[in-house]
Symmetry: C2
Subunit: 392 residues, 2 copies
Amino acid sequence: MFSDKVMDNLKRASWIRAMFEQGNKLKQEFGAENVYDYSIGNPEVEPPIEVVEAINEIAADDSPGIHRYMPNAGYPFVKKAIAGKLAVQYGMEVPDENICMVCGAAAGLNVVFKSILNPDEEVIIFAPYFAEYKFYVGNGGGMPVVVETKDDFQIDVEAFKSAITYKTKAVLINSPNNPTGVVYSEETLKDMAKVIKEKEKELGINILLISDEPYNEITYDVEKLPVVFQIFEKAVVVNSYSKSLALPGERIGYIAVSPKIESCDKLMAAIIFNNRTLGFVNAPAISQRIVEKAINASVNSDIYKERRDVLYNHLISLGFKCQKPDGAFYLFVKSPVEDELEFVAKAQKYNVLVVPGRGFGRAGYFRMSFCISLDTIKRSLPALDKIASEYF
Amino acid sequence: MFSDKVMDNLKRASWIRAMFEQGNKLKQEFGAENVYDYSIGNPEVEPPIEVVEAINEIAADDSPGIHRYMPNAGYPFVKKAIAGKLAVQYGMEVPDENICMVCGAAAGLNVVFKSILNPDEEVIIFAPYFAEYKFYVGNGGGMPVVVETKDDFQIDVEAFKSAITYKTKAVLINSPNNPTGVVYSEETLKDMAKVIKEKEKELGINILLISDEPYNEITYDVEKLPVVFQIFEKAVVVNSYSKSLALPGERIGYIAVSPKIESCDKLMAAIIFNNRTLGFVNAPAISQRIVEKAINASVNSDIYKERRDVLYNHLISLGFKCQKPDGAFYLFVKSPVEDELEFVAKAQKYNVLVVPGRGFGRAGYFRMSFCISLDTIKRSLPALDKIASEYF
């Protein structure tokens, strides 16, 4: 009755979802306030005031037609607002028509892969990775090729180079990174761009750099994120307002295609076609209007910085080993025992929920999502002490 | 650089989109008020007052977390409201957990096809059909098989029977129908159910009936739509509020799986998985809340009935041949010349935009969408007279 492939995928349970369900069970048993749920990246922070004001303005707007279909790529005035912001951030013009509004970054990535991939073409992703990437590439008919990062989770440019074949169609990067919080340096990206250029020439292929940037507004001690449109010849940025405006439930983001790409109008046509036929049709009208009205707003990343510092410093003081995140709201911590499932089970005994690293393609680690309240984090510290005392 | 298949699809231009663009050109040249655009199904009617009130309530709601992720299948309280309404409409219980909120019917159909189809399995669709169906089936990896309907656009049950093979996985029906406005009778559906049962036994296969029902609240002189969950053993309903609440831009609908399906929990798991991994993640939070608050609201179909009557009666009086629609807001009219492209071009000379039937898999006809204002329809009548005078 069902798709065999989907049934097969369902058997390989999502670790994040499994933890989420385990969390609900524990919360029922012990009370929500006694469970420390570091499992999911669902921002506890509320949207900035500009979003609240935008929704009030939209509710008060009685112009006709504001809930009708608009062009599949989104409202022209919304795309214009985003293009204006990108021009400043990127230090270069991004034409409005190179932007397509989408139902969040997950939608954007599915649309881009469907637009570029022929059967069995390869997309390079870096481990540890956001687990859904493999499904997105598969939905587009392609094959994910996993390249391991270095011990500090920075890209190993030599390993990247070795992974490129004549079937390589794209490279997907995610910086600030989920699950590691790492931000790739301009130098690393420039080295990657050089490798891509060499390999394109050698193999007679075209390689698209796809940059998934939902955490671009959540960085710590980072002066400015490198601009992929400046560094790479052929780049596409996929972004979402789920984190920067704290409204993941509203499904809103965009795809921006670099104007440096030859015949980028064809790529845009393919993107808009797939946005329509994959069933998104257009990004939600209200969400688009919110983005336009709150175009310069963003959650205050200092809120997350404080949480990072409390949690990170405490873990380090206990003897845990962890790369200090420069962005996003995750810690990817080395498990004190080789089998991190054993550690995850132990932590659950103290009502602390973390996600096994194998869910992100790197066993021996676990992820803690610190987008929960500072109070919850502080109240969890004694439980972390007890867990640590069993290992250190 | 791009997906060959997508580039190939792009070449086969969408007729609806082509007309939409031609319309914009004509409107620039002659002024919007002098162009009679019957091309697109974008409701000109405003959402009912309950929707406006719902948006005001949502804007005033300062509870924390209302824009966060919720379960991928949607808010439990929204699914509960829909299940309650379906119980009355269907005369049978539909468990909340058999409902998945989706970003409109286009999303729902993509999710369902991805959940059931193995490579090259067949989905039967009936011509004339909504042109996007072929893409949705293809995205799920399946093959659309087109069965012609009778002259009155009712299903030819014998032709349907002949089209079923051991590869048939599903049958997609759409009633009230786009583009014909036809409503399938209970008798026809019961005959189809009988054929499915016979063929399942004969071929040792399972066939899912998928009913795409976005126009279910827009019917004329129809007492009650047949209930597919009652008639078929294995049925899935895909619905959208784009037409019934006139908010197509907000992307909101649902999938309902018949509780009669054995292991329907597995099908739901596959649907929720694909809703997530195809990149929808969840239906927009605000749109879900609107639906719950406006659960008993619907646009007044008498508005459309008046428009249907004015346009239909006038066309018939001029000599055109057309099935009188029982639902939806389209007329599918026989072209007075065999090549309907010739007729479409002629109509454009009088600033009347209609869509060629070949865009819906039936050449020799054209579609007129009467979800435009009554005033526009009335002002278009002299132009229709002039067009008719060239043929009759």
